[in-house]
Symmetry: C2
Subunit: 510 residues, 2 copies
Amino acid sequence: MKYLLLAIFLLPLARPATAQTPPPPNIILFLVDDMGWQDCSVPFAAQKTKWNELYRTPNMERLAAQGMKFTQAFANQNCTPTRVSLMTGMNVVQHGVTSWIFAKDREPEDQSRQRLQSPAWRLNGMATTPGDTNAVYATPLPVLLRQAGYTTIHVGKAHLGARGTPAADPGQLGFDRNIGGSHIGHPASYLGIDNFGNRPPNGPDSRAVPGLDEYWGKDIFLTEALTQKALHTVDSVVQAGRPFFLQLAHYAVHLPFIADKRYVQRYYAMGMDSTEALYAALLEGMDKSLGDVMDYLEKRGLTKNTLLVFMSDNGGLSDVRRGAANLNQYNSPARSGKTSGYDGGLRIPMLAQWPGHIAAGSTCGNNVIVEDFFATCLALSGLKKPAMVQRVDGQSWLPLFAGKKAYTNRPITWHYPHQHMGRHADVYPFSAIRQGSWKLLYNHTTQGLELYNTLTDVGEQNNLAASEPKRVKQMAAQLGKALRSSPVGMPVDKATKVGMGYPDGVVNKK
Amino acid sequence: MKYLLLAIFLLPLARPATAQTPPPPNIILFLVDDMGWQDCSVPFAAQKTKWNELYRTPNMERLAAQGMKFTQAFANQNCTPTRVSLMTGMNVVQHGVTSWIFAKDREPEDQSRQRLQSPAWRLNGMATTPGDTNAVYATPLPVLLRQAGYTTIHVGKAHLGARGTPAADPGQLGFDRNIGGSHIGHPASYLGIDNFGNRPPNGPDSRAVPGLDEYWGKDIFLTEALTQKALHTVDSVVQAGRPFFLQLAHYAVHLPFIADKRYVQRYYAMGMDSTEALYAALLEGMDKSLGDVMDYLEKRGLTKNTLLVFMSDNGGLSDVRRGAANLNQYNSPARSGKTSGYDGGLRIPMLAQWPGHIAAGSTCGNNVIVEDFFATCLALSGLKKPAMVQRVDGQSWLPLFAGKKAYTNRPITWHYPHQHMGRHADVYPFSAIRQGSWKLLYNHTTQGLELYNTLTDVGEQNNLAASEPKRVKQMAAQLGKALRSSPVGMPVDKATKVGMGYPDGVVNKK
């Protein structure tokens, strides 16, 4: 009955492809939470690192061998901004959801003791209708893919709309099915025996994972439960001849680090620090899920007609919550981590497989960013005139899949006018622009500008701002122009009430 | 003005001592949360252990040198049962608050997947008026001490009444001042820069520490803030010639383990596991607080007229959340830890100082249990006929302080008809009785009885039940009798609907 209702619901949707055209490929976005670009056995830096030796992700290796590895892939500094970019195709500067979100009209983090006052921003996340100035109104990717005939499935962490807003429910954003997604950004528990956090006392801030009741009390890890549910849903919901879009967005490897007992003993036995062992086990469980997805595609003969994209939503955690031994080094050779404007906070591991369209074992060194995923899906969908309200900033990866170099010089921008609780000196409110291998980083608090050539200086150690004034001026101008078009302004110094100024203004003052 | 009001409030209270009698001593209960008996540099076992070498608690050493060390001190298996015993003088079997509490009329832990159904128990904690069958109505210690002329101050974790009940507020239980206490059992954050968890989004289940607003945004650890506040309050509230009762009940060293940066680097530098280093730093910060209290007493010339008691509220955490290297060994030589009926869950570190009444550097090997604290305070107070509703199970420590052996053979009982989430085999619903060094442990699930002689077998490895049937029968009869008088019955097997039976019934069946 449930499936019948779904079928009726899907029936009136236009299928743009004629009977002669093969349907567009299935699309799977395998999205990991808080995973750093070094947190796997696939090397994404120029050289293999100690991290690549430490972590075990054999299925990522398998995916890399069968597809394309992206060595210059970027996200935003924390999760909701990236997720909104994926769903809207907009750069964070344009969509204005500049930090993580939680409850309607409420700042998720305390601002009272910060020196800078954050500007008004879209702290409700996405909106399904216009009118809420605290949210970005845009046509979500699954709505468009449904127009193109796709069955759309969300599994796992959503974190796209604040609690108390319609967009908190992925079902309101165009997903035919939602399994386990809501406003929460991390799970209260990864354990089935803990009912994934659904246990009394259970207030609205509890971060219990919704749904998944069938696994409550069972000895199963959340990553495994979501995987089983995702593949079962694809199997039962998707109809022959109709493509599907599956967003399998794991809660892993975000805090809280809770032992995945299938894997953790190995890392304990290696003598690894307990926090780091828990993290390594979360990673291996995530990788097992990837392997299950790949196995499923093979078993069903779907591999050839499925684009499978693997990515993380921001840089890896690098503060003490991940263990103390390698503090602020967890993304090395990149500098710092999650919520920082240095590349440790922005670089992500990314892989893509689509046999016949992506060469096995290939590598792409083009800059790519999360909103490109949207543009790529749109290009694949076959939709000629998608009915959408937003302007898309992302660029399709199809030329890159085909092995071409493309838009190598396009600018990518970031905007994070917030002070995260993390108190490492590398974590501060910032805006940034990258063009090719050049990166200009603007510190809102100090109004300082740093320029790095990340090709020769991946660790962002040598600030070239003083020796490259012309480049600084050009990039600051470009960044300033982008920021002026943003719905989110600059922070204000609480003491002086003076706004922190755009980067080009700062350059010109000097 | 605040102090004037307080003075007016205190004025009508009867002072039993005449002008000739010196006032009873001040009483400070320094209560630590979740600290195991081995988590300090003071040895409480027969031999010094590796734990005593690992942790640094110089002020506990100082207290032990100036006072009495109790090597056979016991609490209940988790926190609220112990705290209610401290405030009522009742054994857990009698007060019926058999596990931790949270919100009114709500089971704090999910029971749906357990084999046994817990009996009705007093899940609201304490009550200030009769009528709530889910709570124990008793006259709290501070009410009685106020009758005796004491100024009563609570600082830190209370966890005595469920959210939504009057007893959630220590001010309703007879404390003239309450700083930082509420229904919560652990803090959302130990950090002042996190406002101790008071930050949006902040629902009723947030576990934000109440009050302490003056420290919000400041770079101060909760343990330090509570200590400063406690000593400042004693200084400003207590009047000359009036004794005070201070319950300084630290949230430390309970989860979440958050770095106390004053101390953690030392442990990191030792190469300690990150989880364990955080725990060791929590301990050292707690010990610093103890030192501050002792320094304060000395500075004000109060040491001589103050009974200072140090204890923990249950055995130390021994599961993976404390680190993986020493799983289930953290209380060794005692077996298991918090929520277990083995001694690792029940043994606590305890020290007492009162110059002139307690010999410096002395040791007491008598069995003592938390409810004795109540009886001791009552004996000290000078109250001849305290107006109270409950029967006191605890025994005064005054003879022990004086170096006598006392009530060496009295039975001590425990009752925990609950299945904690912790899934180690040593953690199960149990009742137990101890008499001298003999301990009978009754496993509700298996209906098995274990008998240990903890004098020769501190680790409870050799079950003597088969070779000592007479002793088993006698102790089971005594335990059964106590349990039959409890407001909390035995659990029921959900499948068979059969109650799990009292231990003496089980013995007699055999």
